[in-house]
């Protein structure tokens, strides 16, 4: 997993609420047995028309917007547990998702893939979305150490579990940690 400490980038506004993981990566693309190539199909049915032509109106296709931060509407990542959604967003080149609310499973999957979910207040999100639509070149800075998001409409702090923060900052994953606890797990199992 890639380390994450601080990032300054332009941000892409996508105000739609309740974006589910079926939109992030439709089920027909889940037939792969590796983690590669999902980025090509992220938001497939929103990015492309049925005839294969690009939907120029969609935020990710709009040349006005760029950057590795996606700012999305409330309740991002709801629905299916497919980690392919996180692989697709990372594969596309995104490093941070900002929203006022994240679905549980998606949030865990994102953190396990070095994709940082930054949860802000609804009010701040609305202000930020409106500002980005008006000022697409403005930059956003995410500082994981300080747990802050700095924008032209103000700075907000965000929460992250201390353990997960350490993992993100050092590129660790849970498997190493769990295996290092093997003796405790075996001892627990003996009591069952």
């Amino acid at each position: 997993m890639e380390k994450f400490t601080k990032l300054t980038s332009r941000a892409i506004p996508l105000p739609t609420e309740n974006i589910d993981t079926d939109q992030i990566i439709p089920a027909r693309f889940l037939k792969a047995t590796d983690k590669l190539g999902f980025g090509d199909n992220v938001f497939r049915d929103w990015r492309f028309h049925k005839d294969g032509n690009i939907n120029q109106d969609f935020a990710l296709n709009n040349p006005t917007y760029s950057g590795s931060i996606l700012v999305a509407g409330d309740n991002f990542g709801c629905g299916s547990s497919r980690e392919h959604a996180a692989w697709a967003l990372v594969g596309y080149g995104l490093k941070v998702i900002v929203s006022s609310f994240f679905a549980d499973i998606f949030k865990g999957n994102a953190l396990n893939n070095g994709l940082l979910p930054v949860q802000v207040s609804e009010k701040f999100l609305k202000k930020l979305l409106a500002h980005l639509e008006e000022n697409p070149t403005s930059e956003v800075t995410i500082n994981l150490e300080e747990q802050t998001i700095e924008t032209e409409v103000g700075t907000n702090s965000f929460k992250i579990n201390t353990y997960k923060k350490t993992c993100m900052m050092n590129g660790y994953d849970d498997i190493d940690f769990l295996i290092s606890n093997k003796d405790k797990i075996n001892a627990f199992e003996a009591t069952l």
Binding site: Q23, E83, I175
Partner: protein, 465 residues
């Protein structure tokens, strides 16, 4: 302060607690399928880590399997490869697999309960968000991502933050024709799709106490649609009777010992929940959805609400519905009865009771997909298959099918499908498809009428099981 059902099961599985961090939770059963496991197997292999407890894993093929001609080779090359990889991974690691064509094959959340794998007081996980289904047994069961599948492979444990507690009470008498699916669609419509996020939900009240295990599974299945990682119902005599005698259930004295423990699991009277909601059963009616998330549900007799919210408008535009309109008399060309929500024997009994002596409408393509080989056998044995065939319905073979349309069971672009599944997201049942969620009774009635009808008008005269 007393403990909740959730607390009791959770606390009994905590291996260790990290200061200011998550807990290490032991997992009793790990269910896997072809779509979310291959990358986890690869990860372990690449890192040279063995599977810790193969005997605590059960595998099935369900998400990406055909529902016709299962005896023939799978046509789609990618699907075939994915299924083959599951077989190879299971063989290599000594994991029992109930693959395509196996007499125990079926949807993961249908077969584990029917084989007696699911038992009260357990912790269960699967790389599928509808793992919440197993909570019907008083089990902590929840969906996980593929990284977590790999963690459980490596250690039989997960690192987790204990969720907050939520209780939804429904008391009173349900109206005739109001099924467990209507109860959960009603709850989600009232509370919204993210009300449960961060919580584990317990369903309590006489409505759930009086439900069959199949009904409880339907309810717990959709907990994730209000954002809750899982839902639970306290184990009781109905639960014990269901589990007893099943293939993998404890037997004899061992079973009695387990029951004594299971009886200690229900929430203590003085336990306090972080959040609690209560509903009156008499308010619930047959439900349908009109939008593109499961919270956008109405009573079948109600009109679509009005709102100027842009996400709401985008959703109605996708569905090609208007604000304030009724869905009664909307022509429907596709009906799907199946999925881990509603593909158990009881669901087919209800549908068969309705269609008996009637005929499927000519415009309707109805896909009836049993949840497992066992359900398919039961449908035949109970004579339901004859009823369906006489009414012009054909049964397909078990699998997830048109719930997520990974296989060929796709609803064509622009078509509506009244579906007993769990998600009405854009394109969920095929690119451009429009899903209307409903109970098996409403789905069966739609298939007969060829349009959505006001089922409440004929409910009194219905002979339901």
């Amino acid at each position: 302060m007393g403990k909740t059902l959730f607390d009791k099961v959770w606390d009994a599985h905590v291996v260790d607690t990290i200061e200011n961090g998550p807990q290490i939770l032991y997992i009793d059963k790990h269910l896997i399928h072809e779509v979310t496991s291959p990358q986890a197997f690869n990860e372990l292999e690449e890192r040279g880590i063995p599977i810790a407890r193969p005997n605590k894993i059960v595998a099935t093929a369900d998400h990406n399997t055909p529902t016709v001609d299962q005896h023939l080779p799978v046509k789609d090359a990618l699907s075939k490869k994915q299924l083959e990889q599951l077989s190879e991974n299971c063989a290599k690691n000594n994991i029992p697999l109930y693959g395509l064509g196996h007499e125990k094959n079926g949807i993961v959340h249908v077969i584990a309960p029917e084989l007696g794998i699911t038992q009260p007081g357990m912790t269960m996980v699967c790389g599928d968000s509808h793992t919440s289904t197993h909570g019907a047994f008083g089990t902590i069961a929840f969906g996980i991502g593929t990284s977590q599948v790999a963690q459980v492979f490596a250690s039989q444990c997960l690192l987790l933050q204990k969720p907050k507690s939520l209780r939804v009470n429904v008391n009173g008498k349900l109206k005739k024709g109001v099924l467990p699916k209507d109860v959960i669609l009603y709850i989600i419509a009232k509370l919204g799709t993210n009300s449960g996020t961060g919580y584990f939900c317990e369903y309590a009240g006489n409505v759930f106490e009086e439900m069959s295990m199949e009904g409880r599974m339907t309810v717990c299945n959709m907990s994730i649609e209000m954002g809750a990682r899982g839902g639970m119902i306290a184990p009781d005599q109905t639960t014990f009777d269901y589990v007893q005698g099943r293939e993998e259930a404890p037997k004899g004295e061992e079973f009695d010992k387990k029951v004594a423990y299971w009886k200690s699991l229900p929430t203590d009277e003085d336990a306090v929940f972080d959040q609690e909601y209560s509903f009156d059963a008499a308010d619930i009616e047959p439900m349908i959805t009109y939008g593109t998330n499961p919270g956008m549900g109405i009573k079948i007799t109600e009109n679509i609400p009005t709102s100027d919210d842009s996400s709401f408008e985008k959703s109605l535009e996708y569905m090609n519905f208007n604000k304030g309109e009724s869905l009664i008399d909307k022509p429907i060309n596709y009906v799907f009865i199946g999925s881990c929500t509603n593909s158990r024997i009881e669901d087919f009994r209800v549908a068969a009771a309705y269609v008996k002596g009637k005929q499927k409408a000519g415009n309707v393509n109805a896909w009836l997909v049993p949840g497992s080989q066992k359900v398919a056998r039961q449908i035949a044995e109970e004579g339901l298959q004859n009823i369906f065939e006489e009414a012009g319905f054909a049964l397909r073979q078990p699998g997830c099918s048109a719930c997520l349309a990974m296989n060929d069971d796709k609803i064509p672009e622009g078509e509506y499908c009244v579906s007993t599944s769990n998600r009405n997201f854009e394109g969920r049942q095929g690119q451009g498809s429009r899903t209307i969620l409903a109970s098996p009774l409403v789905a069966a009635a739609t298939a007969v009428a060829g349009k959505i009808i006001d089922i409440t008008k004929e409910i009194e005269s219905l002979e339901l099981v």
